[in-house]
Symmetry: C2
Subunit: 365 residues, 2 copies
């Protein structure tokens, strides 16, 4: 969470932070309903619009006394520069488009929050567009955003599988977040799911577990494979074999329950289960408990995604891997700001995930 910087409309004076309601009255005198313009300010201050502009923007060619008069006039009128006009002039609108494919899905939201936060702290406003997973709707939104002269675009995916690029010919820079673009010339910011699988297993190893099983979600998802790959690698590095193959299924509690039943039948010696999602982990823990296995004493359980509703409420609270999605959003926003400033990067950049330890994993005693 970043602090609010002094905005261009502060005119160098401390804003009245404590008043909750905005003093929007057109102020004594001008009973017009339209917001004040710079020429209104100039007239009230007895100067030209040019001078007024310079005074408010901190340009140097204006006497201190004059500047004071202009600032006072601007405040009396609650003047607030028209960003449309400014944008038209300077050729930069100070807006970006945030294009999500699936607002409903829970992965988009934290990314969006991170991006909004990173931009919101500056002077950039964010247009939100949800394509509902529909390419045509996405195109429609891109067109509309370009018409509004956004300075850049962030495309937020709902899964980590590569998605079609918007193309290289767009007049503004684009950053892909979570779902990478299929064009390596584009810049994509994604969580490092392979490493995530690795650090998850490393945590279980550090807890002294050696008979580790992996129950994960839909095999159609790259995330499932990446995590499984990292987990397998970490296991191999430790000279251990997995307990059975990675079990792919669905991202649901039901699959977690079913897979656990099978697992316990064939490998009752298991002492840790790494799950592909928190939902799966919930199902796993339910069956473990019903079958008389204690968590974490007999079997440690780890989830994925660190979804608080699920991790905090389970019994015991669930250790999980957090993808730091808010940071992904923030990084994407920063990368876009850089690209707008001319510093273009390309390729897929991965951000590390982190293990959040709770009660469902503990050292073997």
């Amino acid at each position: 969470m970043s602090s609010i910087p002094p905005s261009a409309t502060d005119f160098g004076v401390a804003p009245k932070l404590l008043a909750y309601r905005l003093p929007m009255t057109p102020a004594a005198g001008s009973a017009r309903s339209h917001p004040a313009t710079l020429s209104d300010v100039a007239r009230l201050a007895g100067v030209s619009v040019a001078t007024a502009s310079k005074a408010l923007n901190g340009r140097s060619q204006v006497r201190a006394e004059t500047r004071r008069r202009v600032i006072e006039a601007a405040e009396r009128l609650s003047f607030r520069p028209n960003q449309l006009a400014r944008g038209l002039l300077v050729g930069r609108s100070g807006t970006v488009g945030l294009l999500t494919s699936d607002l409903e899905g829970r992965f988009s939201i934290p990314i969006l929050m991170g991006a909004e936060d990173a931009f919101g702290a500056g002077e950039v406003a964010v247009f939100l567009c949800d394509a509902r997973g529909d390419a045509i709707r996405e195109q429609h939104h891109v067109r509309a955003l370009l018409g509004r002269r956004v300075d850049g675009l962030i495309v937020v995916g709902s899964r980590t599988d590569p998605r079609p690029s918007l193309g290289r010919e767009l007049p503004v820079p684009v950053v892909y977040a979570y779902a990478p673009s299929d064009d390596p010339q584009d810049l994509s910011i994604v969580p490092d799911n392979v490493d995530a699988g690795r650090i998850a297993v490393e945590h279980l190893l550090a807890c002294g577990r050696t008979r580790i099983a992996h129950i994960t979600g839909d095999p159609g998802y790259a995330a499932a494979h990446d995590r499984a790959e990292g987990a397998a690698a970490a296991l191999a590095d430790a000279g251990l074999a997995p307990v059975g193959e990675a079990r792919f299924g669905a991202w649901s509690e039901g699959w977690g329950r079913a897979a656990t039943a099978l697992l316990l039948d064939r490998h009752p010696e298991v002492d840790a289960v790494l799950c592909g999602s928190d939902q799966i982990a919930r199902g796993v823990m339910d069956v473990l408990r019903e079958r008389g296995h204690r968590v974490p004493e007999d079997v440690a359980v780890m989830g994925f995604d660190d979804w608080q509703v699920l991790t905090a409420a389970s019994r015991p609270p669930l250790t999980s891997v957090d993808m730091n999605l808010e940071q992904v959003g923030r990084a994407a926003a920063q990368a876009l700001s850089g690209a707008i400033g001319g510093a273009r990067r390309s390729g897929v950049e991965s951000l590390r995930c982190r293990v959040v330890i709770r009660g469902s994993t503990a050292p073997l005693s």
Copy 2:
């Protein structure tokens, strides 16, 4: 979900919907990197900008042949009218601000989706701002949005308790969604939680249940009281007494478990539990099962919020009350559009909720 209307940039020809990538090349000739302007189009078509404008906007004072030439030129250049300039001229930006206080919370998202959908189908773009529950940050955002000359504002709350009004002096209309404004002059769109409590109990009554308990969340929330009030009223109307008082606590599984344990100790005859949230319901069901009560045969359980991850995954799937939040968002968007068009309303408008029936409630056999 609404359909995509023909946009102002379609120039009356069918867009190439099937091409995924946008044909953004600056087209043969003009190797400029800046997007094409109307005068570029006019030059290429051999007409004046005035004529080009009229041709593209479907004005009548243009010969068919000329119009064709202009449209062709516009397409060759991928021309797309600059909305900043248009907005500056017509005094309307075609944008609105969506001010949320808590993006993280799950209630904002569906509302936001509904609003985005309702606007997105028209020609209105949405600025997303998250105030993080901070009044100062909210003010900052309001100022910034007004500087961008939004045509209106939607304020989305994270709980149904009244919130401070933004004030009456804003130069643009404001609609409050989910959390009503404390000023009755403002327009607020909220879910009808009292009625929600009522219809929930009515559903349980329809299932033949007569010994109904109510376990709900944080007593600091208006939603908890409203639902309890509606539930009590419905019970009274049926000539029944509740099984114990409504139990307030927290919106968590843990509280659901704890309250259920107490409930079963004192009122083992209970045959239905209405819960203040799906999380509470999950906890309730866990304890019921552990104590040997079958759901729904012995005890029916109902949740609130209809949060799919929780309702669909539970055993049995959970009947719940859906607040139709997406509809709340849509209604707010429509009300704002109306207000921008001059049709201002005021007061608090409640939208009905609906019961989503799943396996956790069934008629007594």
